[in-house]
């Protein structure tokens, strides 16, 4: 449904989006991740035709967004960043306007507004002015606007921003449900949302795609993936670490905590472990007792950090140098 081909956007000297290519099919929910300023919103604005691309093309449902903007936009529902809405209108008036400009007749509008109001739980504020709404309601009002015409394609820029945990949950459920029949792309920097709602995720950094895959695939990129955390008693830390490192499947082991009652350690596998690490550790347990043992799944936030901040280590080094300069 959405095809983004070699898309680039240059603002002055700054490359906001640097030749990215991806596509989203019907039935997919694509999570769009990246640090602030990575180019997420710019990409979404180009997909919806708000800003023209500097290079490359976007097609939505087969219509090029630049050459056939009206046909393409008809298929899209868009929730811009910060969920803007006309503050001088009531919620009902605003949704009715959104339906009318999408070309719906009187009866269709009524049905569409009712449906959107129900899906977004806007009943209590229906005749309130948008200006007086709390942030959560305002956000959902704009969200309701984006689904008013039951579009095939949904582009949502931070749809859960500013919502309370319950509302976040509802919106994720909604996205997930709607994702079965639509092509959805949504941006976020809350990583748990990727697990909760996405069938696939893209991480972009400085305008480039740095990772693309299902949440599981991304998680496997973590160096934690397949790592084993264990707590044992009857042995001291140094000996344990020494023994663990001698196992052929172990890359390295770190002692996290050493107490009188036991030692907690984390063991990282060689070549991703294949899930055998835990059993080989259990087999090697002689002279000490395993109190607890489990395999880590890999963590998205760690993958996210390691991908989007590869030079963290270098920067840390610099930061350490600076105080020395001050002292001297």
């Amino acid at each position: 449904m959405i095809k983004v081909n070699n898309l680039a956007k240059v603002f002055g000297a700054k490359r906001a989006v640097d030749h990215i290519t991806f596509s989203v099919e019907r039935g997919e929910v694509l999570g769009f991740l990246g640090p602030n300023g990575a180019g997420k919103s710019t990409t979404m604005r180009m997909i919806t035709g708000f800003i023209p691309p500097s290079e490359g093309s976007v097609s939505v449902g087969g219509f090029d967004i630049v050459a056939q903007p009206i046909q393409a936009r008809r298929l899209i529902g868009y929730l811009p960043e910060n969920a803007p809405a006309y503050t001088d209108m009531t919620v009902y008036g605003f949704l009715n306007f959104a339906a009318e400009i999408r070309g719906m007749g009187r009866d269709a509008r009524k049905k569409a507004v009712n449906r959107a109001v129900e899906l977004c739980f806007l009943e209590p504020v229906l005749h309130q002015s948008v200006e007086t709404l709390s942030k959560g309601y305002r956000h959902r009002t704009c969200f309701a606007q984006s689904i008013i015409h039951d579009p095939d394609v949904l582009v949502l820029d931070e749809p859960t921003d500013g919502l309370d945990p319950n509302q976040k949950h509802e919106v994720r459920q909604l996205i997930r449900r709607m994702g079965e029949k639509k092509a959805i792309i949504f941006s976020t920097h809350i990583l748990e949302e990727v697990d909760a709602a996405c069938s696939r995720a893209i991480i972009i950094d400085r305008g480039r795609i740095v990772a693309n895959g299902t949440p599981e695939e991304l998680r496997r990129k973590s160096e934690w993936a397949g790592a084993v955390t264990l707590r044992v008693s009857g042995i001291n830390g140094a000996t344990l670490s020494d023994k663990l490192c001698r196992l052929s499947s172990v890359k390295r082991a770190t002692i996290l905590k050493e107490e009188a009652t036991g030692v907690t350690a984390r063991v990282f596998p060689r070549n991703n472990g294949n899930g055998l690490l835990a059993s080989s550790i259990a087999d090697a347990a002689q002279g000490w007792r395993i109190e607890e043992l489990h395999t880590e799944e890999g963590r998205l936030d760690e993958v996210f950090r390691s991908i989007t901040m590869p030079d963290t280590a270098a920067q840390n080094g610099k930061e350490e140098e600076q105080p020395k300069e001050l002292n001297s």
């Binding site: 604005r45 708000f50 800003i51 009206i70 899209i76 868009y78 809405a85 008036g93 306007f97 070309g103």
Partner: protein, 246 residues
Amino acid sequence: MNPWRNIWTITKRELGAYFSSPIAYVFIVIFLLLSGFFTFSAYLGKFFERREASLGSFFIWHPWFYLFLVPAVGMRLWAEERRVGTIELLLTMPITAWQAIVGKFLASWLFLALALFLTFPLWITVNILGHPDNGVILSGYIGSWMMAGAYLAVSCITSALTRSQVVSFIISLIACLFLILAGYPPVTNMIDWPWLVNLVSSFSVMTHFDGFQRGVLDVRDVIFFVSVIGFSLFTTSVILRTHRAG
């Protein structure tokens, strides 16, 4: 789909926006008070002192009223959309930028027509007191409305330039002032060459409103106002496009 349907949808929304805030009512009251005061004042319009059955003392002030009032009506059109961010919604709807521009312009223009219409007690007054040429009065109203449209279209440009309504108001006031001064006798008298006077004053709303006030409907005057409106709306579309292109 029918483009006028989209334009009308936008126009309805904008008109609703005017009347959902006190701005519309404040504007209309100020407009009516000012026009009443200027028309009847013994110092300014001298409606009674003139001892003639016409609304000449009413229309003559319009270029100056509009200088302040029309930018106040037009300043929010695009500046507010940009400030709140709704421009991103509006321009990603399945409508063209032109339809949005024309729809918004029409809404404000209709609003000004309403304000102008509400001065009808003046017309009643002058008809009770004497026997005016109602054709001249009608032509005055038409000319006044066209002139308001020209000012308004200039305000559209300035409104699209900024996200601050105040900045938009000030710039469009200055731009409209030029439209007046180019044909204002104290200014044109400073120019020595007659051909230059003609050239400069042909850009002024004063010159082209003059015929309407006297009841002369000249096609050239109509073309002038229509082309100012057309050109300004085109400029607005260019500004909106470049703004989005970054």
